[in-house]
């Protein structure tokens, strides 16, 4: 059953700041999302540091589908469906590795690193009397690929434009995934964490878009203290009263919480590790020279529509919530360090990051508990009739000079970021915009 425009407009009510629970638990809506959202948005695939050399490959996901990301012989990044064109078998069952070609274990078809068909079993004996067009039977490739500070994105929509898609939210990714000195590269620390949670995928993206009111969720980790300093809390606090965190949302559906640091804030971060503190200070001096005023803008957390979420500072990590059902999501999390940071710094950051995030992360665990039972409690016949309240901060919108194009919030505890995210979601779901007919 199709989801029509009037239905979508009833589900996300911008005037009242109410959102129907149906969008988190309704199977029909989920099926439509697979086409209307995941079928045409830009999706985060991975990072260039995961495929350094030609022949390197890593598995990733687009929505529910397994895709292979490779670095081909010519040095280009390729993204293609992990499914043989013959009978569909996965041509790659390894999470990562290095290969010349992909071989299908079912009937022996083979493909090059760029997806082109390389071998068909019994081709000379069985395929010569029909017009078999070799070039039409390679692995199915995405329509477009874009790369920003090493982050790799792909889409099935041939008309998509990555710059237009990101809009001014580009700044959040651009600033987060440069090295600390503002110019160098970052790299993924090895392996991606993957785990399954019983929640709808959107509640994850909404959390990281900037949920300003969930302080009580993390009270316990703030009490025990896992921050990179000797105090309580889970990250370094700013040391200047003139530094602040502001909300920023964009009409493209992306949103985040961005630190605006006072120019005189010495940023005495990472005091628990003198090597890291010293490295940070050296880099910060360089960053100010390289980026000028932008050096004082530090995206803390955010989400890029539909399901890529990130922390840009403490920790520095990307999370993708891959939907595997209306109430099940497979979370993939990777952590980032400066490629050229000293080993001691990388080791310290690794240790801090995995205590913060992931299924054993003292912070992330409490988020997941809430997402789990929020989804669960919304399935009921009666419960789903009553909308969620997303009205906090309505009418308190403002702009911020340092963040062009962003809608911010005067009091700083608004739910404007979530409203922007779901407003965009409802545009994607509106059937008058369907691209694939």
């Amino acid at each position: 059953m199709g989801i029509s425009t009037p239905m979508i407009q009833n589900l996300v009510n911008g005037q009242r700041g109410e959102i129907s629970r149906e969008i988190f638990v309704n199977e029909d809506i989920y099926q439509q999302e697979r086409e209307r959202v995941f079928g045409r948005a830009w999706l985060y695939i991975g990072h260039e540091s995961q495929v350094k050399e030609p022949g390197d490959f890593v598995l990733s996901r687009m929505g529910e589908e397994s895709v292979i990301m490779t670095r081909d012989r010519a040095g280009a990044v390729q993204v293609m469906l992990n499914s043989c064109r013959h009978r569909g078998m996965r041509v790659c069952r390894y999470d990562e590795g290095h290969t010349e070609k992909f071989y299908c274990p079912y009937h022996g078809w083979a493909y090059n690193l760029d997806g082109a068909l390389s071998h068909v079993t019994e081709f000379d004996t069985e395929y010569k009397r029909q017009d078999f067009k070799w070039e039409e039977w390679g692995l199915i490739k995405v329509a477009k690929i874009a790369i920003l500070q090493g982050t790799i994105w792909a889409t099935w929509d041939p008309k998509a434009d990555f710059d237009a898609y990101l809009g001014n939210a580009r700044q959040m990714i651009d600033l987060s995934f440069r090295a600390w000195d503002g110019e160098g590269e970052v790299e993924v620390i090895g392996t991606t964490q993957k785990w399954i949670i019983p929640s709808n995928w959107k509640i994850v993206a909404e959390n990281f878009a900037g949920d300003m009111l969930h302080v009580v969720s993390h009270r316990s980790v703030d009490i025990v203290g896992i921050g990179p300093n000797k105090a309580a809390g889970r990250r370094d606090a700013s040391s200047s009263g003139n530094s602040s965190y502001v909300q920023a949302s964009y009409p493209e559906g992306h949103a985040g919480v961005i630190g605006l640091f006072d120019k005189d804030d010495p940023r005495p971060d990472y005091s628990a590790s003198p090597a890291t503190a010293e490295y940070f200070q050296r880099c910060y001096a360089k960053r100010k020279k390289a980026l000028g005023n932008e050096a004082f803008i530090s995206p803390a957390v955010g989400s890029i529509f539909p399901n890529m979420s990130f922390h840009g500072n403490q920790p520095r990590t990307i999370l993708v919530g891959h939907p595997i059902g209306v109430d099940k999501t497979e979370l993939w999390r990777q952590y980032f360090v400066d490629k050229d940071a000293p080993d001691e710094v990388k080791a310290f950051l690794r240790s801090y990051y995995i205590k913060y995030s992931g299924p054993a992360g003292l912070t992330e665990q409490d988020d997941m508990e809430n997402w789990n039972y929020a989804t669960n409690a919304s399935k009921g016949y009666m419960a789903r009739k009553f909308p969620y309240n997303y009205a906090a901060g309505m009418g308190y919108e403002t702009s911020v000079d340092e963040l062009p194009g962003a809608v911010s919030a005067i009091k700083g505890s608004s739910e404007s970021n979530a409203r922007a995210y779901y407003n965009r979601w409802s545009q994607y779901m509106d059937d008058s915009h369907v691209v694939f007919k």
Binding site: R93, Y94, D95, E96, G97, T99, I189, G190, T191, T192, Q193, K194, W195, I196, I197, P198, V216, S217, R219, S220, V221, I223, V224, G225, I226, E330, Q334, Y335, K346, A347, R350, S351, I354, K355, G358, P359, A360, L362, E364, Q365, D366, M368, E369, N370, N372, Y373
Partner: protein, 181 residues
């Protein structure tokens, strides 16, 4: 008694002592005496749970993440203590209410020629585990795998100086890892 009989007896005493040590540890843990459980670990302990990956046959030796790669958990005594303290706040929502956990430990193995230990000596012990966790109404997790422990003879008893936990899953099929191994 021959030298061989004496060796065999030493081995038997030692392996039974190790088994009792593990069973006592798990009883205290399953009984939720988290602070007493911490006392089983040395001050310099490394409590490490690497991840698993699906790798090609020729790369199979690398299907457990290495020492500097990302891990599920890589704790010292300080951070292990923080995990316990977090549960004890009573407002760690992922463990509020508390999960119900049972551990089955088996396949406990030490070197056949392990001699009696003097103060400071270390012994490598391998074991297998099945961990069952249930929380709230129906949330249930089973995790199975192996542990490689280094026990250090300390004050006549043992302390765990290193614990490496290797689970059989690549994608973790549990919502979280709020429980201990």
């Amino acid at each position: 008694m021959s030298a061989t009989d004496s060796d065999r007896l030493n081995y038997l005493y030692l392996v039974r002592e190790v088994e009792d040590f593990f069973y006592e540890e798990m009883e205290i843990l399953d009984d939720r005496q988290f602070e007493r459980w911490l006392d089983f670990f040395s001050e310099d302990v490394r409590y490490w749970m690497p991840m698993r990956k699906n790798m090609a046959f020729r790369d199979r030796e690398r299907d457990i993440t290495g020492s500097t790669d990302v891990a599920w958990i890589d704790d010292d005594k300080i951070s292990l203590t923080k995990r316990v303290k977090q549960i004890l706040t009573g407002i760690h929502w992922a463990e509020e209410p508390l999960s119900r956990v049972s551990h089955l430990i088996s396949n406990i193995r030490i070197a056949r020629d392990a001699a009696a230990l003097t103060e400071g000596d270390e012994l490598e012990v391998r074991s297998n585990f099945l961990l069952h966790r249930n929380r709230l109404e129906t949330e249930t997790d089973f995790l199975a795998g192996r542990r490689i422990d280094v026990l250090r003879r300390t004050g006549g008893r043992f302390l765990i100086a290193k614990r490496t936990i290797i689970i059989d899953q690549s994608v973790l099929l549990a919502k979280n890892l709020t429980f201990f191994f």
